[in-house]
């Protein structure tokens, strides 16, 4: 028989099928339940794993080739950035605060996603799903590492970066992102996919990476632009995986719809709250701004998210429950969070500041219905206090939300003058929430959320409220890492070094 004459030319889809999907087999010596023990307890019914559609059909040869090319480009820029004092190219030292949030809160999330996708890359019984998740697992460790490598050079010259590993586990604002990822990882494989693969990747990461990275470009930070866009190129695959996964669940069995809808409601709201930090980075921490949080929300939230939910309507999916509240919060959240960061800045490993007249004019133009009315009077009063030598520090610390763990800085959806007070009692204990969304999440699974490690109560339980001891414990160096940018070591160094670079003296 002449093999050559009969050899078939396989198309991309068929080639991928034989090279990947066909590797698995029906086990004979153990049951599927023994090999995949976590696949059913969430109640998701899957009848045919072969119906899984692989959106991008990358085999390992192509993966290595294209990813290596991305890596070569990335590290060439990072090396040049370090060798040429690229950190002095940024528009202003204030910008560094955004990077500090990134390294402390977001990079550890990338690592958690890496672990989570490794787990689900083993727990799903279908080969197509497993491989897609494994590729995401290896991509996510890439993101954690490229971010650490890109920001490593900043750490050598500026404060606030040095203790990111300690801050990840102990710093109050970082528990927001930490608890989000812990929540997803403690869930079953299907919920994890909705949490990270769908809600976070598809609905929300564009808001994190795309406008913020354009902002980094505006602010002369090529290191961050490079890791951001380089990471986001993997996200395109990840988002598609998330969307594929949700369609797969919905197509497999009608009983899956209410479970999936419940997860969408939950994870949309959880993700929206985590992104509150990003809204502040965009509106306040970029010295030169590319677009406001509100504008980014219009494009990536309303337009893109809207299109997505319209598309999913054919399966019976409706937009997530918190959608309208999110829309209402969009004009307020960045201001509310920045006001908090400023008054608690003695306890942050990043600097904050009072917006300048120019900043306030921009904020007022971007938020015409809210900034001047609600937030300008507060900032102007804070500025007056500072001018009198009485920098506003709120030593009252803060009530935290049991679910999202943010300080409860948010107001009623329909009354921006009224703080949102929500509480419930479960098994004799009081719990507080920042919103209806977070209260619903708690009430659906109270046994889970009562376990939350809340950093502000812990300060009292473990250290009797001793702020000095607490600073040592989170590796925060008082007078260096924290406080107002104006008068900080970072400001002094940045301006002095930049002076050296631009003059001959």
């Amino acid at each position: 028989m002449d093999m050559k004459a009969t050899k078939k030319k396989l198309g991309l889809k068929e080639k991928y099928r034989v090279m990947t999907r066909d590797l698995g087999w029906e086990p004979g010596y153990h049951t599927k339940e023994e090999i995949f023990p976590y696949a059913t307890y969430e109640g998701i019914k899957v009848h045919d794993w072969d119906k899984w559609e692989d959106p991008f059909r990358l085999t390992m040869d192509a993966y290595w080739k294209y990813q290596a090319e991305k890596e070569r480009k990335f590290y060439a820029i990072i090396d040049a950035h370090a060798q040429n004092n690229g950190h002095l190219n940024i528009t202003d030292g204030r910008y560094l605060s955004a990077l500090k949030v990134f390294l402390q809160a977001i990079s550890p999330g990338e690592y958690a996603a890496h672990k989570g996708f490794s787990r689900v890359g083993r727990e799903f019984p279908g080969v197509g799903t497993q491989v897609a998740c494994q590729m995401q697992a290896i991509d996510e460790i890439r993101h954690a590492q490229t971010q650490i490598h890109a920001l490593s050079n900043y750490n050598k010259y500026y404060n606030g970066f040095h203790a990111f590993a300690d801050a990840r586990d102990r710093m109050w604002y970082n528990t927001v992102a930490r608890s989000f990822f812990d929540d997803a990882m403690s869930a079953g494989p299907f919920e994890f996919m909705i949490a990270i693969g769908f809600s976070f990747e598809y609905v929300l990461t564009n808001l994190l990476f795309v406008p913020f990275m354009s902002g980094a470009a505006y602010n002369g930070d090529m290191a961050t632009v490079t890791f951001g866009f380089s990471a986001q190129s993997d996200e395109a695959r990840h988002m598609t995986l998330g969307l594929e996964c949700i369609k797969f669940m919905l197509e497999q069995d009608p009983d899956n719809l209410p479970i999936v809808q419940g997860w969408l409601d939950k994870w949309f709201w959880r993700g929206f709250r985590v992104l509150g930090l990003v809204s502040t980075m965009m509106d306040y921490m970029l010295p030169k701004r590319v677009m406001s949080w509100r504008e980014a929300w219009e494009i990536y939230g309303v337009e893109n998210g809207g299109a997505l939910f319209k598309d999913l309507a054919r399966y019976g999916i409706r937009p997530p429950k918190g959608w309208d509240d999110a829309e209402k919060a969009t004009d307020h959240m960045s201001h509310q969070i920045m006001l908090g960061l400023y008054q608690w800045s003695f306890g942050t490993s990043l600097h904050s500041w009072i917006p300048s007249d120019e900043d306030m004019a921009w904020l007022s133009a971007k938020y015409p219905t809210t900034f001047d009315k609600y937030y300008r009077p507060r900032w102007e009063h804070i500025r007056k206090l500072a001018a009198e030598g009485k920098q506003f520090k709120n030593f009252g610390l803060a009530k935290l939300c049991q679910t999202c763990q943010l300080p409860i800085v948010f107001t009623e959806p329909d009354d921006p003058t009224m703080a949102c007070h929500r509480e419930t009692t479960y098994k004799g204990e009081k719990y507080h929430f920042c919103s209806d969304g977070c209260q619903h999440v708690f009430e659906n699974e109270p046994e889970k959320y009562i376990q939350a490690w809340l950093p502000m109560p812990a300060l009292f339980a473990e250290l009797e409220g001793d702020i000095g001891k607490w600073m040592d414990w989170v590796s925060l160096r008082d007078g260096q890492d924290n406080g107002d940018y104006v008068g900080s070591v970072d400001q002094r160094n940045f301006e002095q070094w930049r002076g050296l670079a631009t003059s001959n003296s």
Binding site: G28, D61, S186
Partner: protein, 330 residues
Amino acid sequence: MQIDLRTVSIQPLRQTFDHLARRFGDKPASRYQEGSYDIQAAENLHYKPTWDPDQDLYDTKITKIVMKDWYALKDPRQFYYSTYTLARARQQDTTEANFVFVESRGLADMLPPALRDTALNVLVPLRHAAWGANQNNTLICGYGYGAVFTQPCIYHAMDNLGIAQYLSRLGLLLGDTEALDAAKAAWLDDPVWQPLRRYVEDTLVLRDPFEVFVAQNVALDGLLYPLVYGRIVDDFLSAQGASAVAMLTQFMTDWFDETKKWVDAVLKVAAAESDDNRAVLQDWIAAWSARAASALLPVAEIALGANADAAVGEELAGFRTRIQKTGITI
């Protein structure tokens, strides 16, 4: 405004991150160190897993191996994502060139049919075993503790997938899709393959990540790779004129030489940690390698016939010598 930043000489405030300075002193850290040490959450884990409420989200107690510091299990290759990916991309270039060479010169068609069949019969079913290895390494990465120990496992898992795909390409090149179908049928039903399939399925129900590491990366791979790719492909098939096959499996040979250094380093450090660890490792390796040897015997017989028994025996002796160097005697 263009600033000539190269002309500025400024003193850094510090050389590295606090957690690396605590481990290695305040000196510039390598990218491997920055990207690996202490990057897994360690404290104040928020919720118990719903998939097993008796575990913590990151839990050192799910394995019998006990380490004071899991970050002691250093990868001697110091692979982080970038160095790993660049290394594999280079190997992929070579492999691609080898496949093109074999294909463009029609070397596959020049193989004596008996040898070609032997190559197909031995190698192509192994793509399913490689898939099992992928599953196992993904599990170790997912549930093992500490990035220094676990990140090489996701790289290893992707390598296992790559190997399964190279074996698939080899099957397509030498025997078209029918070869893949025949190999899958053999893997599922041919008595020759059942001991190995059973071995793989037995490892898929293990949940102690370190035992999975031993059963897969130490015991099975430690015998399979030298036996199949060394003895059968590079020696036996090549000697009879089928060196084209060896070109198509060069990746596997090189890969095993590289990765076993990592596997040995992990064993050595874990065994040196305590007598208890050494005893556990010893039991695991003894049990799993004995099973692996008997599972591989019928596979070796496909190519080596009556000589298979001696071949497997020699590989097992070689394996024992290798393991001995890590401080573990079997």
